[in-house]
């Protein structure tokens, strides 16, 4: 493997292939860089900025930046932790995230990141936006109140012809992820479940289902998000 290069994260020397995205390289080395909008294997977009790291002293997104020889990366330092916490807090106040009443609670990536970064209450005022719920489709519910506009569903949920079931609609603060009603009518059970699983929050739900895992046994009840990656060290 001649393509292996050396780089440093928080002073620890790591090895990975040149040109790999920094997030992937860090995860392979057992170092957790948090991600939210990123799906491994699908072209990254760097929209949520939660994976921000200092690369040679400058803040950049680790999911979109390819690895170069000798890079010095700062990840788990107070300055970066504070940026990430502020991003999580702003996502909480920009939507209507009622965790106690959410079907995804305990399996929600946004909530898990808030736990990991010990968000007790957001520093920003709650905006309580009016966003609505679209329950008109046979298999799924799209709750806009919980949507964080990460585009994960748009990028990964497609029918057999490669057409996206979800799409952006509107601009600015009116931007929403809408569901194509014709494609949603033909949605299979498997794809509906995949859409719910790919949604990092509780914005896409499979109908007639929910709260099927008891409290204490859900994904992030007992261990923080990223523990599995840190366990690979």
């Amino acid at each position: 493997m001649s393509n292996k290069i050396k780089f440093k994260i928080d002073g620890v020397t790591c090895e990975a292939e040149k040109g790999q995205y920094i997030v992937d390289a860090a995860w392979e080395n057992g170092i957790y860089i948090p991600t939210l909008c990123n799906i491994p294997g699908i072209k990254p977009q760097g929209s949520c900025r939660i994976c921000t790291v200092n690369i040679n002293g400058r803040p950049m997104t680790a999911c979109t930046t390819p690895l170069l020889d000798g890079m010095e990366i700062e990840n788990d330092i107070p300055e970066i932790r504070e940026i990430r916490k502020a991003i999580i807090e702003s996502l909480f106040v920009e939507g209507n995230h009622f965790c106690p009443a959410c079907e995804k609670s305990g399996n929600c990536m946004l909530q898990a990141l808030a736990y990991r970064f010990q968000m007790m209450a957001p520093r920003f005022p709650y905006s309580f936006p009016v966003k609505g719920v679209d329950a008109s489709h046979p298999k799924i519910i799209k709750d806009q109140n919980r949507c964080i506009l990460c585009k994960r569903c748009i990028k990964s949920i497609k029918d057999e012809d490669g057409k996206s079931i979800f799409a952006f609609y509107g601009r600015g603060h009116k931007l929403r992820v809408h569901v194509d009603p014709e494609l949603a009518d033909k949605l299979t059970d498997e794809l509906a479940q995949k859409a719910m699983d790919v949604c990092p929050v509780g914005s896409i739900l499979v109908k007639e289902k929910g709260f099927d895992v008891p409290i204490g046994k859900r994904a992030y009840d007992n261990v923080p998000i990223g523990s599995d990656i840190e366990g690979n060290k």
Partner: protein, 182 residues
């Protein structure tokens, strides 16, 4: 050493957080050794009779009386703690925040499917009744809050650990398993 004085209240809450406080079970006997309760629904003391050290606030602010009580707590307590999701972010009552207040009142008293007998189409308007706010506010958007204990309700172990830490002056332990939003 004199005992620390604790006051508690439930604003726009369901008393679930108070129930969770009682869920410390037999440790409540230890708690009584450590602290003295002043104004609280637990002992039914209605008004502050002395300056308190710790005020536990359950629920957000949905009406003028909630604001009055919360400001009273801020005046009379050295440390205010937001207890539970409703105090921190409005919680279930805040689900009405996207609906105009006129529609909320009409649904409850005029047009709702369970409304019977309101033949004169009267909305409650007695001067004794607190006025509803335009929306439900988290406590920290009304007064300064010193600590937040998330959860619906906050786990009893979390409340216990925090109360003990406040009494002894030790650093608060916030174990991953007990700091939850649901």
């Amino acid at each position: 050493m004199s005992k620390l004085v604790v006051a508690t209240t439930s604003l726009a809450g369901c008393f679930g957080c108070h129930m969770s406080l009682l869920d410390i079970d037999e440790r409540i006997l230890d708690l009584i050794e450590l602290v003295e309760f002043n104004k609280s629904p637990i002992n039914d003391i209605k008004t502050f009779t002395k300056q308190c050290d710790i005020g536990l606030i359950e629920g957000g602010c949905c009406n003028s009386e909630n604001i009055h009580v919360l400001k009273d707590f801020r005046k009379n307590c050295k440390i205010l703690v937001s207890l539970g999701e409703c105090a921190i972010m409005g919680g279930l009552p805040a689900l009405r925040n996207g609906i105009p207040i006129e529609e909320c009142l009409a649904e409850a008293y005029l047009d709702g499917p369970t409304v019977k007998g309101n033949i004169h189409k009267i909305l409650p308007n007695d001067k004794e009744l607190p006025m509803l706010l335009d929306k439900v506010y988290p406590c920290h958007e009304v007064v300064k809050i010193d600590y937040y204990l998330p959860g619906c309700p906050p786990r009893a172990d979390l409340i216990w650990d925090v109360l003990v830490a406040l009494v002894t002056g030790d650093e608060m332990k916030l174990p991953y398993e007990v700091v939850k939003f649901d």
